[in-house]
Symmetry: C2
Subunit: 571 residues, 2 copies
């Protein structure tokens, strides 16, 4: 491609409304343009990357036995009534009326449509398992579209849906998708983690999110320093400390702490080690419990993990913290003075708390704390559970290495849905015994357009994008210096362009009448991996300058050898 | 692909709601399924064809120098206000509101969006010409969606838009698109015509429609029996007859014709040659004419072409036929007795009428006709124009051959828009003189999903679809007989499947436990071009049966030679 015949549209200035680096660089490199809030046009160089991502996704989906199809963007409201999501979904579900006043939605996802298709087309277990996917335009009317194509309203998804008669079959396809997703992100050279995710309200049985690690990510990902283990921070198990609680060395002391309403104040004012303090949190008990409240204990430097807490049988789900009035009524003290000693509600201690000795906590009397608390002596051994968020340096729950925590951008999600949709929509087949059976279902999404932005978040420098080879818009940039004045340079550049193109290499030939500095800057901004600079002086020596975008290494290569060198570098 | 792991979904019965053959066959072959009125899911085999069509379109667009990009489906209402199409478009333009009550449309076309993009990105003539295209989902809220994907509400279009500073440059790109479209349909082996089309209300300067010829088409296409000339019947010029009007041989006679209200009745009752009769049609004159009505004359066996008529300076546009009251008031007779003799309004005769002699027409007195009318003697020589629709057998206006008329399905349209949109949206660039100049614009559409249906309308028989090779969902069907009982057959089929697949050939391997008759019928219905039938008996002789879908020719081919034969047939 010749830049003179292309729509390059690079910008020198960083657009003021772009908050994250990928949004800034996609605008500056001329990859996208905003049409309206959350609506983006993909300019030619952007679409090249988008298509490369989609092609890799398709190849790995096909390799894993999934079959491509295509469902409409516009979906009838009736199907969303069938599953109840018409009411459950918020205004992100854009509801529209056609000319006959019939209700439709712009599809943010296609569980309803695919289940309707499969219940009509599949009648026997013999036709299963089946894993159907599409690469398609979706719409979510986000309350706050932002970060360019990272959280746009219209976007491109690859969504797959699998159907089974047994859980085992579902688990097999789930595993195949896990492997396919891993290959997809490996082929794109992205630093990613397959993250154990909460199955949450949808209530399926297993779920992984695939996150590209990047500082601008919106999720905290905990992962092992040595193994593949990774989990959303809400899901990562905090292992029990190997040590047992030490023997008491201090007496139990009731201390006046009038100015210590928080753990930090307590620690500062009394010179305590925060790891020797305990926070007590009162939450509503689940129905049928004798006490209306339950006390949860975590170490002073730890954070309660609400998702872990609400999964406890004794605790109400969703989690509700007790109000100050409820606390005062039941305990007789404010929240700043709560503690486990002489507490008249059931106590559940985090694993780290259970092995503490000589620790400090509130005394259930305003402005007083106990110091030197010891289990067994000052209060009964507690019920123990994993209640806290993991921290960097914690032992990894997989048993190997320690946990690191980084921010992640969610680019994929696989989910064992079970019969959630199929039962509501009565999607059944005859099983081997000839009996009607509700389908088991999995769903597997990849944010195709979001990957483009995530890849940039992970691969850029101050000069622009540094594309991984597999998704670069072009592999090679030919940058001739003053070719409009030097016929020698023009001839060499044209010949090289022809030769590389004939070898099937995607070349961007910068044949504009621009200063070399402008051309260098544009090709670096656009992130083309390999640059060939052609000038009169080096041609006199029979060489060109070769530079890699990522390493920035420059070398002189003989004109006769550059095609072979580039070809070898790309393969 | 193994049928056992595919979603084949063929139907034995013809769905009752499918009117045209392509709709019936696409449903029966499991290519599409209806989700709601005018909304279709593309099942896997349908999507394969759709993707092949899209790939050919992309390849030829790229070859012609067009650059792919992607614009949003959802477009802001503001842009449609800018061009005035918000008001002009009927309810086919689906207007929606987002969660903030802002107006949007589901794009039926993208002139507004692309013009907005280009006016922002392009500032100089140096960046032009530019031809940008996308392959994308469109929506038209059709009043009566029908014929499956032929006239659906959601559909896939390739739409291209070119931008220029001069008419000459626009004409060059237009010609390049004309050639590209021709190659696209040639590669698909479709019998098509590039048809001169009316530029109509949009008022551009040149336009061609590309029609696939098929009985179910909605348009009448006139084309030369020997040259490339083709035109929408409204646009085809009816050449003047070479003969001059003959000398009179009859006297002018006033004849009582009380029962002849129509030309056919006149011809029947008086034994006339219809080619010796003239129909007189009164229409409104254009503003500023002395007479409020104008008479248009066409031969009794010809049809008035309304588009040609309304282009005449004397005739009001759009064309309005005079009411009976208007006719009586001005002429003193009813419409069944109109004629050119002693008519008190201006007369314009079709070219064929101008060369008649001794002809019959109404006498402008109720229940009377004149017979033996002759120009010059009985009335003044008329003003002459091309006023009629062409007929089969007419000389082709290109000067070569005679006209044939067939029905066509419009699958493409190219259009020189000029500055229609660019002037309304103020899309300008600086020209070579540094002056701001309004862009010239062309647009070029192809109905990607419609092509699939049109190809079937042209390529089918009573057993199903007969795909042209370039867009077949699979190239080869392997049909093993009783492979679940015969290990020999299974081994041979598996080996052949592996070998053909390794050669890059798209094979559908029918490994279902089905009777051979079911398998034959499904593969014929689906239209796979090459069938290989493997059975125990033929294997004993070292052969397989080879059959082509189109010709239905069967032959025995040595197992050792079948791969070479298939490969050769496909290349």
């Amino acid at each position: 491609m010749r830049t003179s015949q292309y729509l390059l549209s690079t910008l020198k200035e960083t657009p003021s409304d772009a908050e994250v680096i990928s949004h800034q660089l996609m605008l500056r490199a001329g990859m996208i343009r905003r049409l309206a809030s959350g609506l983006y046009t993909w300019l030619p160089s952007g679409l090249r990357v988008l298509n490369k991502v989609a092609t890799i996704v398709r190849e790995e989906m096909n390799r894993a036995g999934a079959i491509e199809m295509l469902m409409p963007v516009v979906q009838p409201a009736e199907l969303w009534h069938e599953t109840g999501r018409w009411d459950k979904f918020g205004p992100e579900l854009l509801r529209i009326k056609d000319r006959n006043d019939r209700g439709f939605v712009l599809g943010p996802t296609h569980e309803e449509v695919i289940t309707a298709v499969v219940r009509n087309e599949v009648s026997s277990y013999k036709q299963l398992p089946l894993n159907l996917y599409q690469v398609q335009t979706k719409f979510r009317d986000e309350v706050r579209p932002r970060f360019g194509v990272m959280r746009s309203r219209e976007f491109i998804m690859k969504d797959a849906y699998s159907f089974h008669t047994t859980q085992e079959s579902l688990a097999q396809t789930y595993e195949a998708m896990y492997q396919a997703y891993s290959r997809i992100f490996e082929r794109m050279d992205l630093d990613f983690r397959a993250v154990l995710a909460d199955t949450g309200a949808i209530g399926g049985s297993a779920s992984h999110e695939f996150h590209v690690l990047a500082k601008s990510g919106e999720d905290d990902i905990a992962f092992s320093s040595v193994s593949d283990y990774a989990a959303n921070i809400e899901m990562a198990e905090a292992l029990a400390p190997k040590a047992q609680a030490g023997a008491p060395t201090q007496e139990l002391q009731l201390v006046d702490t009038p100015d210590a309403k928080t753990i930090n104040e307590l620690v500062e004012q009394f010179g305590l080690d925060i790891k020797q303090t305990v926070k007590t949190l009162l939450v509503h008990a689940s129905e049928g419990q004798a006490s209306p409240l339950v006390a949860l204990l975590v170490r002073g430097d730890h954070e309660l993990n609400e998702i872990k807490a609400e999964k406890l049988a004794q605790v109400a789900s969703p989690l509700v913290f007790a109000s100050e009035a409820e606390i005062r009524q039941l305990v007789g003290a404010g929240p700043g003075s709560l503690g486990p000693v002489k507490l008249n509600v059931p106590v559940i201690a985090d694993r780290s708390v259970a092995v503490m000795s000589d620790f400090a906590a509130g005394a259930n009397v305003d402005d007083k704390h106990f110091f030197g608390i010891n289990w067994g002596r000052d209060l009964a051994q507690p019920e123990v559970a994993d209640l806290r968020n993991v921290q960097e340096g914690d032992a990894s729950p997989c048993g190997q290495g320690v946990l690191q925590i980084k921010r992640g951008i969610e680019v994929g999600h696989i989910f064992q849905l079970g019969n959630n949709y199929s039962s509501k929509m009565n999607a059944t087949v005859l099983n081997e015994q000839g009996k009607s059976t509700i389908l088991e279902m999995g769903c597997y999404g990849i944010g195709v357009s979001r990957i483009v932005a995530a890849a940039i978040e992970q691969n850029h420098d101050e000069r622009g994008i540094i594309w991984p080879a597999a998704i670069a818009p072009f592999q090679v940039a030919i940058i001739p210096m003053n070719m409009h004045k030097s016929q020698t340079v023009a001839d060499a550049a044209e010949a090289l362009y022809a030769e590389l193109s004939a070898a099937g290499i995607e070349v961007l030939f910068d044949d504009r009448k621009e200063r070399p500095g402008v051309m260098f800057a544009d090709m670096e901004l656009l992130g083309v991996p390999h640059h060939i600079i052609i000038g009169d002086r080096s041609l006199e020596n029979g060489v060109v300058e070769y530079k890699t975008r990522r390493e920035g290494e420059k070398s002189e290569v003989a004109l006769t050898e550059i095609v072979a060198k580039i070809t070898a570098a790309i393969k």
